[in-house]
Symmetry: C2
Subunit: 356 residues, 2 copies
């Protein structure tokens, strides 16, 4: 009540300068920590600043320096444990390096992603970390780099975009688990992903815009083909974008006469839903159905049976992306890095031989 409500009480360098009896330029030097000032003046300004409770305006500072000390991050969905863990890696590194993070969810929607990038560029972030919804649709990313702000791709790369990229070795992981399943006698192996296509059906890997997932499916199909399993394309299911969708798809799949004997879930959210449906339908894992899930979510070790998973170094994915970005921001002008982090299959007890 005793202060003007709207008219901000913010003290500026000019105020401090006046109080300290020096010029604005000199006060700014002390407050901004640049240039050279005598000890006597520095003290006077410091004292005045404290008395006036001076708080610098980063916006104004960014205005002239051109650096905002901010990095923009666009992920599919922060609620997904995969992204929230990667985000933790990013924020840890960012904070250490003195940057703050603006987070935008794209909801895996390309248009939302475009809007997000535009917003972030308008806010003059120093750099970007993006997990692109569609690899095929990257003009907005190209434009971002053209504006001179470094970009790092997270979990999903792009052949046509020559920027720093950090991905997991998805293809290799998919090949590995497919090989194991086939060795156990499985031939009706379903692959289930949240990625969707125009007609909600899968035809060829080229339909899949999410790079990490496409590489997995390619690996899956490749090993199948090598093992003499043809036409496995029809076992790839897309569009498990929510638990509800997943539930419907899995139920239909498991109720069909030719039901799969093994399912590969493309992330832990899907894996969880497969698990639930099995419970509902009274199917036993692994006797009736083998299950492998991508992402070593914390709960996967505690179910009955515990779930065999592909462990991805998710935290390190985020951490590495942020490190690359910070290096660029510090003037690293070398060629684009494409870093592939190794995955690892954690064998637990959700995989067994195919039922007769």
């Amino acid at each position: 009540m005793d202060q003007s409500p709207s008219r901000s009480s913010a003290t500026t360098v000019a105020d401090v300068a006046r109080k300290a009896g020096v010029s604005k330029a000199t006060a700014a030097r002390v407050l901004g920590g640049y240039g050279t000032v005598s000890d006597r003046v520095r003290d006077a300004v410091t004292v005045a600043a404290r008395a006036l409770n001076y708080q610098p305006n980063e916006l104004a500072r960014s205005m002239t320096t051109g650096r905002s000390g901010t990095i923009g991050v666009v992920v599919g969905d922060i609620e997904n444990p995969f992204f929230s863990l990667a985000m933790r890696g990013i924020t840890d590194v960012a904070r250490e390096a003195g940057f703050t993070v603006i987070l935008i969810n794209s909801g895996e929607d390309a248009d939302a992603e475009k809007a997000a990038i535009r917003t972030l560029l308008a806010k003059r972030v120093d750099g970007l970390i993006v997990s692109p919804a569609k690899e095929s649709d990257i003009d907005h990313l190209r434009e971002a780099t053209r504006s001179g702000r470094p970009l790092v791709l997270l979990d999903r790369g792009s052949e046509t975009l020559d920027v720093d990229t950090v991905i997991a070795d998805d293809r290799h992981a998919a090949e590995d688990i497919t090989r194991r399943l086939i060795a156990l006698g499985h031939s009706r192996i379903a692959y289930l992903t949240a990625c969707d296509t125009a007609d909600h059906r899968f035809h060829t890997p080229a339909d899949i815009n999410t790079g990490s997932v496409r590489r997995r499916i390619e690996g899956f199909l490749c090993i199948c083909r090598k093992a003499g399993l043809e036409g496995m394309e029809e076992w790839v299911h897309v569009g498990a974008i929510t638990p509800d969708h997943t539930h419907r798809i899995v139920t239909a799949m498991l109720k069909s006469p030719q039901r799969p004997t093994a399912i590969i879930a493309s992330d832990s959210v899907i894996g969880l839903e497969v698990f639930k449906v099995c419970r509902e339908l009274g199917l036993a894992i692994p006797d009736d159905l083998s299950l492998v899930s991508f992402h070593d979510a914390d709960w996967t070790s505690v179910t009955t049976p515990p779930v065999t998973v592909v462990r991805q170094p998710v935290y390190r994915l985020g951490e590495t992306a942020a490190k690359l970005l910070v290096e660029r921001l510090n003037g690293d002008g070398t060629e684009a890095n494409r870093i592939v982090l190794q995955t690892e299959v954690i064998e637990r007890a959700s995989v067994a031989g195919a039922p007769a």
Copy 2:
């Protein structure tokens, strides 16, 4: 290679104005969407802007308007499913209302939180959503509100700070489950929280700085006392700040001669660890030990047995906090709201009568 690398190619209103043959002020009116302009001029400016690929500089805009279109969020740990889900609620509302979100992790550390607030204020966020690490230590929050920027407290309140607050009905939930456990004959009931104290031991609820947790413990102790169980303070365990810590604490607890017959886990991360330790020690849930966990994490329904939990409306917690903030930002000058969202106990199968 064909463009100047460092000197930004950013087009400004002045550039557009020149190209369109109008004054800077007029071009700004069109580009900024304010004031009144003739159709002819508007078109000319629009065309020029497109030709020059004009991208507005939000920083400069914020500079004069005083609004940055940004809200700052400080949470304990984005990796925790509780916060990542709440965060989803916040970002959804924020985006809808045209705000972007700057996220900072405090790691539940009061000093880090202070630094975070300072950073956010310096960046001139329009408002703040904070999940304070310590309720007792809130001078920095008070100062934030004094700077005229609205603050909303998330999941944790403060009696001495008169600001919008959104919390869950934690005390009631704790009372409810304690009552149930006692009715089933339990008297050795342990409460396990990540909150820590100076000497890593619990003496009185006043030791607990995290409001939501303190209220739960108060409820727990209150019902115990009413039921004639005295000295239950010694069954409250603090310091389960990492899975490792939790593992040690739970193992020690369950190996002691007077081991608890029931454990209340203060969040799903702790609940999961309790579950794992039981597996290791060969203890059966619920026959040897009953388990109740706060937070209805997605996996809790899929374990064997599924876990009885306190469901908190986590998404709505974040959503509501963001809505309150947006209202304030739109000039709502009414009194501070203190919203308490109801919790719900989801009975599953991890609770049974106390073993003999």
